[in-house]
Amino acid sequence: MIQNKYSFIALIIFLFVGPFLFPNATITEMLIFGIVAISTNIMLGYTGMLSFGQALFFGTSAYISGLMLLGGFPLFLAIPVATLGSFIISLFVGYFCVKREGLYFICLTFAFNQMFYFIAYVWTEVTGGEDGLVGVERPTYIDSQLTFYIFTAIMFLLAVLALYKIVTSPLGLIFKLIRENASRAEAIGYNVRYYKLISFSIASTFTGLAGSLYVLIHSMVPIDQIHWLKSGDIIFMTLFGGVGSFLGPLIGVVGYIWLSDTFSIIWARWPLIMGVIFAIVVLYFRGGMSELLENLFKKYKAISRKTEHEQDIKNTKLN
């Protein structure tokens, strides 16, 4: 609990300091993918389901909200409708996927993702196909970079609080039960498939919310946001940050985007570096960046405690 308090304080500080650390568009994108990764972690870390199709919801919702904005609907209608849209789709897709476990679940979500990608790709009149959906204007009240950042930060905070509420509710506990021991959860009276669907829907709906915000960053929906490689990115960001804690994935997002932007300037073959980093994380720091930081923090504390202790000993000796 205390640790959570610290991490929330750190989060608030990050929201204030972030715009000075990173370029505006980048930090805004980090927050948006922060929603995605934190919500994906509800499914991945808490419930133990690995979906390789989260870009499906991100992209679909982005298209819906983009189309509504283009059609002249107000933003405060577009975002809820798009989010609702991804919720409905998540129920449909999830219905088929949660019947299966493990590898099959991965394959199915992956396959659904590809299916939606091709729908978006072929249905050019609506989605713009290869070119994506362009020319979506931001409403004037969030047109400047600062106001848009504030808007995104508020949406981010709301989403994070909602997700935190879920995590600390009985529902969050049920998700953990399923991750730990699905057959036992079933035996004490939980319909595992049903709760898996809920978990899948929550993750997908919030991913959808993020997608509907993404439209506004660059005033467009590129088709690569619904491609399976994006789903991969989402998983990597989440794992990179670490699935062990609630806010860990955010560290992953910030790290992933920052590293990829930085390395891409240094060396054209930067995906190689990213690959090596991922491999190292998997083989040696499976808890991701958040655990690494936590360990460092602990070590630091242990050292300071040790020196304190030594100091005490010295003091007693002196006395």
Partner: protein
């Protein structure tokens, strides 16, 4: 006396092999009814069919006169049937409290809204959790993770989870499996205590425990019921002795 569980002609075939064939038993309310049999007698298959893990090939299961044959296992706790597993089967990364809490919550929450409330809003469940945990003697470990408990403690936790569902009928699958002698005694005592409150269907292959606490015993061998009756009757049954001592 009221028959709480009636099983009629329960059969399970795996291909051409029948693991359980044509078993009928009736469990009286408020008793300990044991099912025994040597290894491979079909006890586990039988148990799994009752608890909804595998669907039977034939036959019926009635609980309180309601047909529950082939119900998915998650529905049973809500009707008052709880089961305890043969191998330790807890939620290792969660605390003892959470383990038991989740089990109580499962059958006691009324609406979907409860799912989204804060964990701190359920005083009644918290209280009950503490009570059950102390009943099984784990109060001092309540905030420890389940994986940090000793094996015997995990079995006790297992029992606590099962009791959390507030069942009328307890299905216990070899609760003393792999326990040290002292722990076995402890567990036997616990079961005896529990029988005051619950009807118990006990699957066990340790003869002495069963003899000690059961009211009625059903003996299975090669998937068939070979004998049924009071401990005394079983003790003196020739068929049972044959089965256990190895027949020629």
């Amino acid at each position: 006396m009221n028959k709480i569980l009636k099983i009629q002609n329960l059969t399970k075939n795996f291909g051409n092999v029948s693991a359980v064939s044509n078993i009928s038993i009736e469990v009286e309310e408020g008793t300990i009814h044991s099912i025994i049999g040597p290894n491979g007698a079909g006890k586990s298959t039988f148990f799994n069919m009752i608890s909804g893990v595998i669907p039977p090939s034939d036959g019926y299961v009635y609980y309180k006169d309601k047909d529950i044959t082939g119900f998915e296992s998650y529905k049973l706790p809500h009707m008052g049937i709880a089961k305890c597993f043969q191998i330790t089967n807890v939620f290792p990364k969660l605390t003892v409290k959470e383990n038991v809490w989740a089990s109580i919550f499962s059958c006691s929450h009324k609406s979907k809204i409860d799912l989204f409330k804060s964990m701190n809003d359920f005083e009644a469940i918290d209280k009950e959790t503490k009570k059950i945990v102390s009943d099984v003697g784990l109060s001092h470990k309540i905030d420890d993770k389940a994986e940090e408990l000793s094996h015997g403690q995990q079995r006790m936790l297992e029992m606590a989870i099962t009791l959390g569902a507030k069942p009328d009928l307890l299905l216990l699958d070899e609760p003393t499996q792999g326990l040290a002698p002292e722990a076995t005694v402890e567990m036997t005592e616990l079961i005896r205590q529990l029988s005051k409150k619950y009807t118990i269907l006990l699957i066990e292959h340790k003869m002495h425990i069963v003899m000690e606490i059961s009211k009625i015993i059903t003996v299975l061998n090669f998937g068939e019921k070979i004998e049924e009756g009071s401990p005394n009757k079983i003790k003196n049954s020739k068929k049972v002795q044959d089965a256990y001592l190895g027949r020629k």
